[in-house]
Structures are given as structure tokens and as C-alpha cells.
């Protein structure tokens, strides 16, 4: 009798495992892996309506999380990934990215050439850009009684406990370096250590460190100054036009997000079709107006909200690039120390 029990247990286990594996239906699914809120639902639904391929919208919080998951999956599991420039370079170097099938993506030329040939994909083999932006400072003039001109103003003691910042450690290290007149990609460990010390002095002013919806802190009164990504700037200005946007005088950061197909993507055909779909002017317009990043599909420049067409100055900002392992470690340490100081 007990043997029967065991057999039953075994059978149930096997069934459950089978059910788990069998749940993936071949070819009718496309796993899209990116941040939350990067697509208007109707764009995803439109693709399903047109091709019959169901889109599974899967999210990560940070670029690095994506890279970790993707390498755990040996470049499989996901069909289309959208992430930041510097992490794509790492993914390409790790052999996790497959070349784009330009016989499927026949409208590849719709991309604005200005955003092509970048460091992460110099020969335009692997990526389709999906928006770009410059992180900026936004503040509430009603709550701040001096004009903010640049990063250094964030250190002003009048802003005690009222600054919200995004949570990318490289970006925050980067603007600290910019405020010292250095490069965002500094590799000199001594200079990075100085930046770390300067960051510690910013700690008393920090109210909130958060990557998503940081702009809400300005709207619900938690913070009076915020350092935000472009999409967040667009959103917060739409909600409250009285806020002021600052292009920091010390220099700008710049970033491109791009889509790529992992090397072992289960459904490469659909993935390439999806990239083609994204490059259609009407679809690009819908996407960029939804996420609020600068339009990278040149063919859509004429129809998209003019505020999302890059001014000539764009591109003069500095990319966050990959640095040596020692510098990387030093940046990580700065960040941990900074966060701990904020909590004191």
C-alpha cells in the first residue's frame, strides 16, 4: 500500500513537472523582456492581432538583472530584450546576442542614422534603438528658493532631505564626477574615491532613491528636487507644467536604449518580425509618445510629438560606458557607502 503511495507521489511529481514544461507552447509566443511600462498595451495587442503571436511581457528592474538572467538562461528563454547601451555591449561581448535578420527587418533604414554606429554596436548588426534620453534635474520653484543650474546645486544644504534620485549607481557616480569636472567613465581609482567622498556629503539631502516612478515624489510632495530620466521628465512636466527643468551646466549624460534578439531566442522569426513592427512610423509614434523618450525612428520624426524629436544638442552628452573591473568595483562600493549614509 505504501509503495502505491510512493508510486502515486512519483506520478504526481512527474505530471506536475511535465505540465510545467508543456505549458510553453512552441512558436505561438514571443517573450519580450524589458522594464515595466515600456509599451502601450495597444501596440502589443496590435502585434498579436496581426501575427497571431502572443506576447509575454516580462520585466526586469535593472540592466544588470537582465544580463544575469539572460546568461543564466544561456541566451535562451527570451525573444526580444530592450535595455541600456552599455549593458548591450556586455551582452554582445558575452556572445549572448544574435545578429538581426535584415531580410525580415526590411525597414531597418527607418532608424535615424544619428543613433547608429554607436559603441555597443559599431557595425549595426545587433540592435534596433528604442528611444534615447538625457537625465535631467527637475524642481518645484515653489518649494526651492534659489535657482538650480547644475548638479552642484543638489549639494546645497537648503535642500536637506528633499532630493529624489534615480537608482542607477553608474549614473549617480557619473553626475558626481561631472560635477567635479571629470568624465562619467573615470577609471582612475583615486578620483573615483574622491567622488565617493563627495557623494557621502550629498546623503543628507537625499529623500528617496528609486528607479521607477521617481517623478511621483515631486507630484505627491515627498521631494522638491528630482534627478530624472527623460521619460520621467516628460511625464512629470505633463502633470505639472509649473515645475522647472534644468539642463545641468556641468555637462550632460546620454543614453540609448535598444532592442536585440538573444542568441538562443526560442522564436527568432517572430522576434525579428516584432523589430520590424516597432520600426513602422505609426507604431514608433505610439510607443515614444507613451514612454516619453526621444524618438529614434527617423521615419517617424514627421508625425511624432515634436517635443520628442531630438534637438541638435542631443548626442553631445556622455554615454555611460563599460569600465575596468577595478573601477566597476569601486563604483559599486561608492554606491553601497552612499546608500548606507543616506539611511543614517
Amino acid at each position: 500500500m505504501k509503495k502505491k503511495w510512493l508510486a502515486l507521489l512519483g506520478a504526481v511529481t512527474a505530471l506536475a513537472l511535465l505540465a510545467g514544461c508543456g505549458a510553453k507552447k512552441a512558436n505561438s509566443e514571443l517573450v519580450l523582456y524589458t522594464w515595466e511600462g515600456m509599451f502601450p498595451p495597444e501596440v502589443l495587442e496590435g502585434f498579436t492581432a496581426r501575427t497571431g503571436t502572443k506576447i509575454v511581457y516580462s520585466n526586469f528592474d535593472y540592466d544588470e538583472t537582465m544580463l544575469e538572467k539572460l546568461s543564466q538562461a544561456k541566451g535562451g528563454d527570451y525573444d526580444v530584450v530592450i535595455a541600456d547601451d552599455y549593458i548591450i555591449e556586455q551582452a554582445v561581448n558575452a556572445g549572448l546576442v544574435s545578429e538581426i535578420d535584415k531580410s525580415v527587418v526590411t525597414n531597418y533604414a527607418n532608424i535615424n542614422p544619428r543613433y547608429q554606429g554607436q559603441f555597443y554596436d559599431p557595425e549595426d548588426k545587433y540592435t534596433v534603438p528604442y528611444g534615447c534620453g538625457i537625465p535631467l534635474i527637475v524642481y518645484d520653484p515653489a518649494a526651492v528658493d534659489f535657482p538650480i543650474k547644475g548638479y552642484n546645486d543638489l549639494w546645497n544644504s537648503a535642500l536637506k532631505d528633499s532630493v529624489a534620485i534615480t537608482a542607477n549607481y553608474r549614473v549617480i557616480n557619473g553626475i558626481t564626477l561631472l560635477s567635479m569636472g571629470r568624465s562619467m567613465n573615470e577609471e582612475d581609482l583615486g578620483v573615483i574615491a574622491q567622488a565617493g567622498e563627495k557623494l557621502l556629503r550629498l546623503a543628507p539631502n537625499i529623500r528617496l532613491i528609486q528607479d521607477d516612478n521617481t517623478q511621483d515624489a515631486l507630484l505627491n510632495g515627498e521631494a522638491s528636487v528630482a534627478f530624472l530620466y527623460t521619460s520621467q521628465v516628460t511625464q512629470v512636466m505633463a502633470e505639472n507644467p509649473d515645475l522647472k527643468v534644468v539642463y545641468p551646466e556641468e555637462g550632460l549624460g546620454f543614453g540609448i536604449m535598444a532592442a536585440f534578439v538573444p542568441v538562443n531566442a526560442p522564436n527568432k522569426q517572430a522576434a525579428n518580425e516584432f523589430l520590424k513592427y516597432l520600426l513602422e512610423p505609426e507604431i514608433s509614434k505610439a510607443c515614444f509618445e507613451y514612454i516619453g523618450y526621444v524618438n529614434t525612428t527617423g521615419a517617424a520624426d514627421g508625425i511624432v510629438d515634436p517635443a520628442l524629436v531630438a534637438p541638435e544638442s542631443a548626442g553631445s552628452g556622455e554615454f555611460i560606458m563599460n569600465v575596468s573591473a577595478e573601477a566597476e568595483e569601486a563604483y559599486n562600493r561608492n554606491w553601497a557607502a552612499f546608500k548606507a549614509a543616506c539611511g543614517q
Binding site: 505504501k2 544575469e68 532631505d161 528617496l208 505627491n220 559599486n332 562600493r333 553601497a336 548606507a340
Partner: protein, 286 residues
């Protein structure tokens, strides 16, 4: 039908437990211990070369501070839970049958709602333009909204709140099955209520208090997301550090070393606590 034969069949019963435990508890733990001595390589992988550098790295003030913060938060959470939860469980156990049923129901309902959602409720209450500030402003007690969210007290509130039901239920169970005639006897023999409580009630309910402490202390050593959400990512606990290293930082050996130290710390503290209270069994959980 010899008794001997009978006994021998029981291995079939324990076999699944043995198998599962060896494969999916001992296996992963041993693997973690092994990884914690491996060498991190650039990118996401690691190399099997024995090194102590992962542990040496923890001597850095930044990381030591994470351990200190985690311990401080876990201890204050547990202490507050004892202070709030013990009287609650005690009073609850002294109610009549109807009252007990009602209170049990009231304690269990939040238990079934998502703890994250309840946390979100606190977020709404504590925010600058939230309920608490509005009430305080309306009462004229404050003139400017208080900055409560993203502070240490906010995190502590969330932690205590999330774990309180465990303490209450554990204490309640042991109060419920207590033999009250002993207390009556002590009172009849002239003991003051305080003395009767300390010598009899507290002793008899110690198992419940003890499992309550374990059930709140253990999770609170690792519950980092409450600190992240209510603390605005400003309080770095070992939990967030491990998650960071595991996902963002791509340094599995360091994550494993951190986890190992955290596990040893938790186990040692529990062992100390057990020794101090002369208890070895977890009981009265529901």
C-alpha cells in the same frame, strides 16, 4: 507479524522526506558553502579556485554596516513584536469562547491578504499628502506635513506590522492551553498577581513566546523589501546586498559568502536564545 518486521517498514515513510531534504535542502546549502570560497571572475561567472577573499571583503566598513543595520532592525522588530504581541495574545487567550473565535478570525484575515498590499496601505497612510498627515494637519497638531515615509520609523512600522500575527498566534496558542488552576493555586497561597504572572504564567507561555520570537526574528533578518519600499532604498540590509550581488552585481561567490555569514549569525543567535530559554521545540504555530 514479529514486531521487528513491523518497524523495518517505516523507512518507506521517511524516505521521501530524507530524499527531498538531502537533494533540495542539504544539496543547495552545501553548494552555497562551496561557492562562497570560489573566485569571482569578470562578468557573471566564477571560477573554482579556493579563496577567502569573499569573506575578507566583508571587513570593509560599508558591508559591516549592512550587517549591523540588519541586526539592529531585526532585534528592534522582534522586541517591539514581543511588547505588542504578547499582551495581545495573552488577553486574547483569556477571552470567552465567542470572543476567542472572533479575535482569531480578526487576526487571521490580514494573514490571508497579501502582505505587500498591506504594506502598500501603509505607504498611502504615511506619504506626505497621506492620511496621517492630513489628519494631523486638520487637527492643527502640525503645520507642515511630516516626513515620515522613507525614514527608519516607517521601515520599523512595516516590519513590526508584517510579522505581528505570527507572534500573536504563537502566544495565544500557549496561553489557550495553559492550566489556569496553577495560577489560582498560587494566588490562593498568597502570591501577588505580578508574582503569579512571573512565576507561573510567563513560564508556561514561554514556549509560545519563544516560537513567536523565532517566527519573527528569522524572517526579519532577511526581509529587505520592506526596507526598500518604505525606506526609499536608503537603508541597506544584508538582504538587499545579497540580492544586489546575485542579480545586479553578478558576483555569486560574494553573495554566497554574505548569505553564509547571515545564516551562521541567525543560527547562532537562535541557538543562544534556545539555550537561554531551555527550549528546543517550535510549537504553537497556529
Amino acid at each position: 507479524m514479529k514486531p521487528r518486521q513491523r518497524r523495518e517498514r517505516w523507512w518507506l515513510c521517511v524516505a521521501p522526506l530524507y530524499l527531498f531534504t538531502l537533494l533540495f535542502v542539504l544539496g543547495p546549502v552545501l553548494y552555497m558553502i562551496a561557492v562562497s570560497f570560489a573566485q569571482n571572475t569578470a562578468g557573471t561567472g566564477f571560477r573554482w579556485a579556493f579563496t577567502l577573499e569573499n569573506f575578507a571583503k566583508m571587513r570593509d566598513g560599508v558591508y559591516l554596516n549592512c550587517f549591523r543595520e540588519s541586526l539592529r532592525l531585526a532585534l528592534s522588530t522582534t522586541l517591539l513584536n514581543v511588547l505588542i504581541g504578547y499582551p495581545f495574545g495573552y488577553f486574547m487567550g483569556r477571552l470567552g469562547a465567542r470572543g476567542k473565535r472572533l479575535m482569531l478570525f480578526l487576526v487571521m484575515v490580514p494573514f490571508w491578504t497579501s502582505s505587500l498590499i498591506r504594506l502598500y496601505g501603509w505607504l498611502i497612510i504615511l506619504q506626505a499628502k497621506g492620511l496621517l498627515n492630513n489628519v494631523l494637519l486638520a487637527l492643527g497638531l502640525i503645520r507642515e506635513p511630516l516626513k515620515i515615509l522613507y525614514t527608519y520609523p516607517a521601515v520599523l512600522t512595516g516590519m513590526v506590522y508584517g510579522l505581528l500575527p505570527f507572534m500573536i498566534l504563537a502566544v495565544y496558542t500557549s496561553v489557550e492551553k495553559m492550566d489556569w488552576t496553577l495560577v489560582e493555586a498560587a494566588r490562593d497561597l498568597g502570591a501577588t498577581p505580578a508574582r503569579a504572572f512571573l512565576t507561573i504564567t510567563l513560564r508556561l507561555t514561554l514556549p509560545g513566546l519563544m516560537s513567536g520570537v523565532i517566527l519573527t526574528f528569522v524572517p526579519s533578518m532577511g526581509l529587505f523589501f520592506i526596507a526598500d519600499l518604505l525606506g526609499g532604498n536608503k537603508i541597506v540590509l544584508v538582504g538587499s546586498l545579497i540580492q544586489d550581488q546575485m542579480t545586479r552585481g553578478g558576483n555569486q561567490p560574494f553573495a554566497a559568502a554574505l548569505a553564509l555569514v547571515l545564516a551562521v549569525m541567525t543560527t547562532l543567535l537562535l541557538a543562544l536564545y534556545r539555550r537561554a530559554t531551555h527550549m528546543s521545540e517550535l510549537e504553537g504555530m497556529l
